[in-house]
Amino acid sequence: MRAVRLSVVTAVAGATALVAVTGCTEKSDAKDGDAIQVTAADSTCDTSAKSVPAGQVTLRIENKGSKATEVEILFPDDRIVSEKENIGPGTKYTLTAEVKAGAYEVACRPGMKGHGVRQKLTVTGGGRTAERDPRLDKAVADYRAYAQEQADATLPAVKTFVKAVKDGDLAAAKKAYAPSRIGWERTEPVAESFGDIDPKVDTRADGLEEGQKWTGWHRLEKALWQDKKIGATEKTLADQLVTDLTDWQKRVGKAEITPTSMANGAKELLDEVATGKVTGEEERYSHTDLVDFKANVEGAQKSYELLKPVAGKNDPALTAELDKQFAALDKLLDKYRPSTDSYDFTSYDKVGKDDRKELSDAVNALAEPLSKLASAVVK
């Protein structure tokens, strides 16, 4: 929704950006230059070596299973160093990557989904890598999995929306619009970290740069609610939305996520609420702002819950306050929906000035202590 990408979460260009470490003297069970054999099957993932010198690492992969698989080298926080998708049954592939010293995992994902089967891989070499609390690595890995789940779940919802647009069914398209955005809104800081996707899918008219073509959700929102018509352009834009969001879905695994970026990402979600939703600017045609609002809060809460084991130990007063404020904001939001099972929220144009002020105060009450979460995590 913003043209400018957020600063805290930054995407890495890819594994090639990693610097090779040379001059290794430590003993490894795979010698410099030797490839690691990876034998993937439907429920196993065997590797011929558990440690390897830093530098160029080669995986010789063979899929002996019955399903297509995907093999990845992963950082401790589940960020992808390098990967190969769609290795068919019975086929082989050689994957190479420049890898610095540190602890990694090799993952085989039979059927190309889920957590996969994992093997530890230690990359040895000069220069110690900074040790991080394993609980924080787990928090980051779990958050990455969450972001991936949200992206995976978003595409079918978007396709439902897009189908209605292409069918020219105005009512169905309006109904499917807000639900199609929930996964995106929950993980917006990750999504926005890929600077090129956000401007294509979530820009508002006033966020356009000169010469930029307006595409994405809000362009369609205007067509549906303000212009009240679906033309050929809208249908083309609907297809484009699927293409762009598929790109996002594929890249979530490579987003650079750190414990502090998770914490600050949670706060940024609240900032999104404070600047765009509380004012009613985000969904100015559909007035579905409260759906986005709820999704932003849920995404922030997810980050927070994952970091809480560490943050709560370092600063119990802060987590107590955050628990209280999350609960208070949730409770306040529940006033605006008939049932907590539903994402049908009151149309924001029906929310009066005093109620908007109350929502704004509750957002500030949560966002301010949330801004201290990052320091509680790294204390």
């Binding site: 502090t260 306050e321 002020k357 500030n364 009450a365 949560l366 320091s375 790294v378």
Partner: protein, 438 residues
């Protein structure tokens, strides 16, 4: 206030409210030598003392410091009374009223302690907490930073409790009788978004950035426990609490409130401003009551009003500020010479059984109002020992018959109990209210 350099033995008009004493260095406009020596020392030029208000008193009322307004010095935060009432009026204001959002008394008390600690630092010209830089890169700094490198600028922070606060924390039996809800006055056109509040903080400073910084940081510390309900920026003080200073002009171009109480007038402060033992609320001893009114001025209409009419409305001349028929601003007014509905005639203590309030108002302009008119006026701040004997009877009278009403409208309103000063490093704002038994 224990030691007042300015001797008051020549003042025999105090209790009757006869003017000419309050702002003038001495009767008749010629300062006595004694007054001069007492305030500025022998070396201080008369002209500076009279025109510039170069003498100033620091502190919450206890400490006298001849530091001038323009030195950027700090005003003592600790004292019997809160600073920002009798303190010489600074040039700028940022006033904020807050709603309390928590029902947790302990959390609210902690906020008062946190605010006190922050106020103690900011009024001394220091940054909040660990400062604005140098901390953890991933976290926002404790202080917002826009006052870095600026002098303390005589910042004062004055806290008040609104009537609604006492209901929120079940403190009904501790609500002072003097803290009454203001009645509806004829002509009031109060906007809800500029009225009321459970709490207020008045920030006065000679540098607007310092005042804004203070309120901004307190609001930030308060998120989740309090929320800003409304706020007001002010410039161009419209009254003075410094003896010898000329009364500043309001946006109508007139001097008003020349009979204001000076910060040095211990006796009048005690009589009209500070709540005392006999007032029945122990925790308020040394405190005061504040009435805040946002008074919109119909600037454009006023500006096309004939000079004679303007002068008749106020009962003063525009050039000197002298009352009708008199030569000098501080000359005692002859009320009967004024029109019956002249502002000064109606508002003067003599016409109101001696009613006297301490005014600290500021002019404001908040851009335009969407109709191309200046959204401007007077943010009126009046401190008194009891609003039932101060602002309320005065405003009842003014709202009924003041000729000025044609050119002004009251659009915002609030009343607050201002607790006594924070005594020392262990004390905090409101301790007596929240700690002691009733």
């Amino acid at each position: 206030m224990t030691d007042t350099p300015r001797d008051r033995d020549t003042d025999d008009t105090d209790d009757t409210g006869i003017p000419a004493e309050a702002e003038a260095p001495a009767h008749g406009g010629a300062p006595s030598r004694r007054a001069l020596l007492g305030w500025g020392g022998a070396g201080l030029a008369l002209g500076a003392a009279v025109a510039g208000g170069a003498v100033a008193m620091a502190g919450g009322g206890d400490d006298i410091d001849p530091a001038g307004a323009d030195t950027g010095d700090a005003v003592a935060f600790h004292g019997t009374h809160q600073a920002g009432i009798a303190t010489p009026v600074q040039d700028r204001l940022h006033f904020a009223a807050f709603d309390v959002k928590t029902t947790d008394r302990a959390a609210f008390v902690q906020l008062l302690k946190d605010w006190t600690a922050a106020a103690r630092r900011m009024t001394a010209g220091k940054a909040v907490g660990d400062g604005a830089y140098g901390g953890l890169a991933e976290a926002p700094p404790d202080d917002t930073g826009e006052a870095l490198g600026l002098k303390p600028s005589r910042l004062t922070l004055t806290l008040g409790f609104g009537p609604s606060l006492f209901e929120k924390f079940d403190l009904g039996d501790r609500r002072p009788e003097a803290l009454v809800d203001l009645p509806k006055f004829p002509g009031d056109n109060l906007e809800k978004s500029r009225t009321g509040g459970d709490l207020c903080v008045q920030a006065c400073a000679d540098d607007p950035q310092v005042a804004v910084h203070a309120i901004r940081n307190l609001a930030r510390i308060g998120f989740g426990k309090v929320a800003v309900r409304w706020s007001q920026l002010g410039f161009g003080k419209t009254s003075s609490t410094t003896p010898g200073a000329q009364t500043p002009r309001n946006l109508f171009g007139f001097k008003d409130g020349t009979r204001n109480i000076a910060g040095t007038e211990t006796d009048r402060l005690k009589k009209y401003v500070w709540a005392g033992e006999s007032d029945g609320t122990k925790w308020m001893e040394g405190g005061s009551y504040l009435v805040a009114r946002r008074i919109r001025m119909n600037i454009e209409v006023w500006d096309r009003t004939a000079l004679q009419e303007q002068e008749d409305v106020f009962g003063r001349d525009k050039g000197e500020g002298a009352p009708v028929g008199k030569a000098k601003e501080h000359d005692a007014p002859f009320l009967k010479a004024m029109k019956p509905d002249a502002h000064v005639r109606l508002a003067h203590p003599d016409a109101n059984g001696g009613i006297t309030i301490l005014r600290r108002g500021y002019s404001f302009t908040d851009g335009t109002d969407g109709l191309g008119r200046l959204d401007a006026g007077l943010f009126f701040l009046a401190y008194q020992r009891d609003p039932r004997k101060g602002f309320i009877p005065l405003q009842r009278k003014l709202s009924a018959s003041d000729a000025l009403n044609e050119y002004i409208q009251h659009v915002g309103s609030a009343v607050f109990a201002i607790p006594p000063g924070v005594r020392d490093a262990d004390d905090w704002w409101g301790r007596a209210l929240f700690s002691e038994e009733a």
